[in-house]
């Protein structure tokens, strides 16, 4: 069994990387409207807790970001994850733990990824031997 949770089988899923959350936090209206569109359309939106932690700094001053996160399934990085993440980093010859977790989570959930860094994520997905869409913000 894959150690990364996958969620409901019938809901299309998407994983956010930090770039999307930064855009929302910075007040990018398109990023927020697309987030709304995903919820309305029934996407299951997943955000690794470590991705959220990269962006959350002062929740009281980041109301838009914190509201967006309320519509996301925050996925913890647990004791199940360090080995598959480490193996993927070794295979990819990279060191970004957060990106590797994003790629593993998307693979387990058969999810699209919304990322401002499609090249690095694409490399990790190819190391996993999967083809999943990586969309810009």
């Amino acid at each position: 069994m894959n150690p990364v949770a996958s969620g409901p089988a019938d809901a299309p899923a998407v994983v956010y990387d930090s770039g999307v959350l930064i855009a929302i936090s910075d007040g990018n209206p398109l990023a927020f409207r697309r987030h709304q569109g995903r919820l309305v359309s029934g996407y299951r939106i997943m955000v690794p807790a470590v991705v959220a932690a990269q962006v959350v700094r002062n929740p009281a001053r980041q109301a838009r970001l914190m509201r967006a996160l309320r519509g996301c399934d925050i996925v913890p990085f647990s004791a199940l994850h360090h080995v598959p993440v480490g193996r993927l980093l070794a295979a990819a010859g990279t060191a970004d733990v957060v990106d590797a977790f994003v790629a593993l989570l998307a693979t387990a959930a058969q999810a699209a990824i919304v990322s401002t860094d499609p090249h690095d994520i694409g490399h990790l997905l190819s190391c996993l031997g999967v083809r999943l869409p990586v969309f810009p913000m």
């Binding site: 969620g7 299309p12 409207r33 709304q36 838009r64 509201r67 309320r70 519509g71 058969q110």
Partner: protein
């Protein structure tokens, strides 16, 4: 302390019932535990989605609502992404099926 269990009588498609039986057998757990976990996961997502939509409404109430055109355009972008995800997953599964068939040949 373990929560007391309730009994639910539900009707599901035969294919779903068969998938549940297979999953329970593969993991050596009860059918009830498979159904309970799946229901709990689905209900959790319903709650997150409802809370997320309420949060968006709060944001717009405070900062102003976007135009209907802008909302529709963003929704169209997302629908196009969903279509692309479905297409790629179908291609991926077809490729895996081809691989299995080729391996069996």
């Amino acid at each position: 302390m373990t929560e007391k269990k309730a009994v639910l009588n539900v009707t599901v498609a035969e294919s779903v019932a068969e998938a549940v039986r297979r999953e329970a057998a593969a993991r050596n757990v009860t059918i009830s535990s498979v159904v309970e976990a799946a229901l709990a996961e689905q209900l959790k997502w319903y709650q997150i989605r409802a809370d997320g939509l309420a949060a968006i409404e709060e944001e717009y109430r405070e900062t102003g609502y976007p135009s209907a055109e802008d909302v529709a355009a963003a929704r169209a972008d997302v629908e196009a992404q969903m279509t692309e995800l479905s297409r790629q997953l179908a291609a991926e599964h077809a490729g895996q099926s081809d691989g299995h068939e080729a391996g069996a040949a």
